[in-house]
Structures are given as structure tokens and as C-alpha cells.
Amino acid sequence: MLGLLPVGFLDSAPVQHALVIGGFAAVVAALVGVPTLLRGQAFVTDALAHVSSAGGALAPLIGINALGGFVLMSLAAALGLEAAPPRQRAERDLQTGAVFGAGLGVAALFLYLDVTLPGGSGNAVGVLFGSVFLLGASDILPAALAGGAALALLALYLRPMLLASLDPDLAAVQGVRLRRVGLAHLAALTLAIGLAAMTVGAVLSTALLVAPAAAALVLTDRPARALMLAAGLGLAGMWGGILMAWQSYVWTAGHAWPASFCIVAVLIGLNLAATLGRGLWRLGRRGAA
């Protein structure tokens, strides 16, 4: 199986780091994505992901790790949303939109300061769209800590999260503390966003959270199966994308395509395949009946 991989692929240090950190990030993001979609929070995820770009831009200015910056800013935005619980569902969208806009405005400021202040990175493309091949051994520990914390929160609160997403009133009757569960979910979500942003950038991190979970929920209704499927699809998207980026070097005569594009392209391909596959399976069943 490994013999099918192109020569030098697994020997390259940037590829090794990308496979390990990117693969872990993709699995964590996909797992957190499932309860997030069941709770109907795709838009909140997108907003928090975009707002995290402000943190990624702030990180070099205050001398912290980019992952810390991403998590810090999306957590701040999440707490801001949580501090003002909406009275109706439509109001949540309004609040999310407002936080979205405000966060991107702050990102514009920090990205500008990155370019113009001494010591800033000036790497706006990297903050927004990521550079998975720039990850190094020093990124492994922070990634493991953030991902481990997200998985721990998920393990502790998965049942109440799922119950609350399916029927909040029933969950409340059964003694589920909705507020605490909501906070735990937001914390796991921001950690997963930070981790995903580290690999494919703040803007594209939504794709790692939403695409595998969405494909999994197309294929199955059962949460446990959906979680496993999402993790597998996320990993396949990340590793497939890294392989595609490596191969693009050959197709483009050394020009190469950005890894983030390749990763998202494979993820979307898997999503389309899942939707098509389910449609064909249903057609087949109807034909048989």
C-alpha cells in the first residue's frame, strides 16, 4: 500500500509534519463538526472561523503561537455570542452576523499592522488560507494540547450535546444543563477551529469542520456512525489533499498548487460522492421495490 505513494513523499519533513498535525486537526474538526451540525450551528462555525483570522494576525504582534491567537479570538467571539442569548432563532443569526463583521474588521486592522509594524509577519495569505507545509515539529505539542482538550470536552458532553440538539425541552426535563453543555460545545468548537486554522487557514477552517460532518450525516442518521464516518472522511480529505499538493508539483512543472486548495478540493469531492452515492442507493432501492 505504501509502495503506491510517490517517491520521496514520506521522506519529506514538511510532508511528515503536515500528515501528522494536519491529520490530527482534520479528525478533531470532523468529530466536533458532527454535534455542531446537529445543533444547526454551521453559520456560527463559519463566523467564529473567520473571526479567528484576527487572532492569527494578532499572534505575531504580541509574540504568541498562531494557534493560541486563532483560539483566543474565536473564543472571545464565542463568549460574546453566549453572553447575549437570543430570544428567537432569527436573532441568533443577526448576532452572529454582527460578530462576523466586527471580527473581520479587527482582522483587517491586525493584518495591516502585521505588514507595517516592525516584527510583524506580513503573511496575510498564510493567516487566511494556511500553509500546511510550513508546520514544524514545534507545532506538534500545542496542537496535541488543543486537540486533546477538544476531544475531552466532546467525550464528557457528547450525550447531552446530542440530546439537547435533538430535543432541548426533553433534555431540560431530563436534567441536562443546557447552558453548561452549550459552553462546553463552544469551547470544543473554538479549539477545533484554531487547530483547523493552523493547517488550512482561518477562512478555510470551516471546510474541515463542516464538510466531513455534512457528508457523514448524509450517509447515516446514527450519531456514533456519523462520528466515525466524519473522522474517516476528514482524514481522507486532509491526507488526500496533501498527496494531491505533492503531485501538483509534477502536473504544473514545479509550480505546485497551494495545499489548502487541494485539501478543500478533496473534501468537497468526498462530499459530492457521498450525496451522489446516497441518491444512487435510494434509486436502486426504489427500483428493487
Binding site: S12, P14, T116, G130, F133, A245, Y249, H255, A256, P258
Partner: protein, 309 residues
């Protein structure tokens, strides 16, 4: 920021500057001419040619920031609108200035676009023209003619100053010639193409993959194959010196720097804009060439020309 949005911002600023009242020296008819060098190395040449008759301002002077990503402010738009002479690099290196000048067209102002002066096509891949020994003498003579047109009373002085400037580059040209004959075909590694015209003048060869140089310059994702090729250059000691751009650094360039040091490859810090204080254009080029020579001859590193930058 994309060039498109940057351009739009620059145009808006230029429009603002146009609506401001222009009270330049030329309008008053007396006092020194006002000139702007977009990069401080061009401002230095204007100052050397213009002497006491020209008041020069430089826009891009901070050696710790990346000029490629520079953005203009309303203050700069006003400086450009009130200038009698502007020297810019061209080739997209300072396209914000190009757009601003086009938007604030002023027939009385002399614009010298170094790219056009040297008749270089827009497809020229390396914009760092001032590292080419042929560039600044041509700029100095063009500046002298432009100043002479604005201030004919001092024309002879401007032309004489340009000749003095050109002659002052002899020491640099001699150092280049000495290197060429002593160390022909020296292999070098770089982070991006900042000093590549000088490398070519020295008869040396850049071994770094061209796509990797462009990835570092344009902040895009590097191909792992190119990263591996660069790392092999260090591990195999296949290069004699590593030219490290001090103004554009990120995790990738820093990892190359660590690797070069680990394998005992001498490092020379190179700059996009003229380091300050203590440098003229001539001294900067001489110091860089001397540092490269010392690296190849004695294996010594010169990571910085100025402490802390």
C-alpha cells in the same frame, strides 16, 4: 491585501491628495526643489545628485518591514502631490505609488520609473533592480537631467554631482571584478531573489529553486519538493554562502537560517531598502559585497549590517 484592493485604496488617497491645495516650491517659484524617492536608496541618490538645492523625502525606510506589502497613507499621497520629482522602482514593487502618481497626474512633476528607464518588460521576474551595478548610474544621470529641467540655473552642478556619484561606485565595481576572477561560479543559496542581480554580477550561481524564492517573496505555500532541495543544498554543503533577506522573514526562512548555521554555511544578511544609520547607497553595496567575499573567502557570517535590524 490583494493588489486590487490596495490599488483602490491608493486611488482614493490620491483623489484626496488632489483636492488638497498644492503649495509646492515650484508654485512659489523659490526655495529648494522637492523630491521623493519611494525607496530610500533612490532618495539617497537624489540627495547626492541634488545637493543643497533639493529637499528629499524617502517613503519606504523601515528595514524591518516588507516593502512588497507596503500600503500608502494620506500623508504620503500629499508628499507625492507636492513633489517636483519622484523616483520609483516599478515592476510591481511599489505599484501603489505608480497608481497614485497616475491618478494625480501633474505635467510639472518629473516621474522617473526605474523599470521604464532601464527599458525592462513587465515580465521581468526580479524587481530588486538596485542590486544591479548598472542601475544606479543610469538613475543618477536621469535624476540630474530631471533636476536640470526644473532648475536650469544649477544644471551644471547636478550633472557634475551625477558624475561624482558614478565615480564613487568604482570601489564597488572593483570589488565585484575581484570576486569574479577569484571565485568564479560560486554556488549560493538565497531565501528570495532580493540580491540576485548582484549574485549574477559576481559571476555566482543561485542554486535555490526559483519557485521557492517566489514563494518566500510572495508569502505563498512552498512546495515540499523545493524545501527538500534547499535543505539538501545545506546538508551537502553544496553552497558557499546563504543570502538571507532580513526584511522578509517567516518560519520557513528561519528554519533555513537554522539549518545553514547547523551545517556551517556562512550567512549574509541582505536588505530590501538601505539600512540605516550610517549607509549611503555606495557604502551599502560595498558592505554587502565585502560580506559575501568574506563568507566565501574565510567562511565568516555577516548576519546584520546594522545591529538589531
Amino acid at each position: 491585501m490583494t493588489p486590487l484592493t490596495r490599488g483602490a485604496a491608493a486611488l482614493a488617497l490620491a483623489a484626496l491628495a488632489l483636492s488638497a491645495p498644492v503649495t509646492s516650491a515650484q508654485a512659489a517659484g523659490t526655495g529648494p526643489l522637492r523630491a521623493v524617492g519611494i525607496e530610500n536608496q533612490y532618495a539617497d541618490v537624489i540627495a547626492q545628485v541634488g545637493g543643497a538645492h533639493v529637499q528629499v523625502e524617502a517613503i519606504e525606510i523601515d528595514p524591518n518591514t516588507d516593502p512588497h506589502s507596503f500600503e500608502a497613507s494620506p500623508k504620503i499621497a500629499r508628499a507625492l502631490a507636492g513633489a517636483d520629482l519622484v523616483v520609483l522602482n516599478g515592476l510591481g514593487y511599489d505599484d501603489w505609488a505608480e497608481k497614485m502618481l497616475a491618478a494625480a497626474a501633474n505635467p510639472a512633476r518629473q516621474d522617473i520609473n526605474v523599470q521604464h528607464l532601464l527599458k525592462l518588460g513587465d515580465d521581468t521576474p526580479n524587481p530588486h533592480l538596485w542590486y544591479d551595478p548598472g542601475t544606479m548610474p543610469a538613475v543618477a544621470h536621469a535624476v540630474a537631467e530631471a533636476l536640470a529641467a526644473k532648475d536650469p540655473a544649477h544644471a551644471a552642478e547636478f550633472r557634475a554631482n551625477a558624475k561624482v556619484f558614478d565615480a564613487a561606485l568604482d570601489r564597488w565595481r572593483q570589488a565585484i571584478a575581484a570576486f569574479r576572477s577569484a571565485y568564479p561560479g560560486t554556488p549560493v543559496a538565497v531565501t528570495e531573489p532580493v540580491a540576485n542581480y548582484l549574485v549574477a554580477a559576481l559571476g555566482a550561481k543561485v542554486m535555490t529553486p526559483a519557485a521557492l524564492e517566489l514563494a518566500a517573496m510572495n508569502d505563498t505555500d512552498p512546495a515540499p519538493q523545493d524545501v527538500a532541495a534547499q535543505e539538501e543544498l545545506f546538508a551537502d554543503k553544496a553552497v558557499k554562502v546563504f543570502l538571507y533577506n532580513r526584511q522578509v522573514t517567516d518560519d520557513l526562512t528561519r528554519s533555513f537560517l537554522d539549518m545553514a548555521k547547523r551545517h556551517g554555511i556562512p550567512v549574509v544578511g541582505v536588505y530590501e531598502t538601505m539600512p540605516q544609520p550610517g549607509f549611503t547607497y555606495q557604502r551599502w553595496m560595498e558592505a554587502t559585497t565585502a560580506a559575501i567575499t568574506a563568507a566565501v573567502a574565510q567562511g565568516t557570517s555577516t548576519e546584520r549590517l546594522v545591529p538589531g535590524q
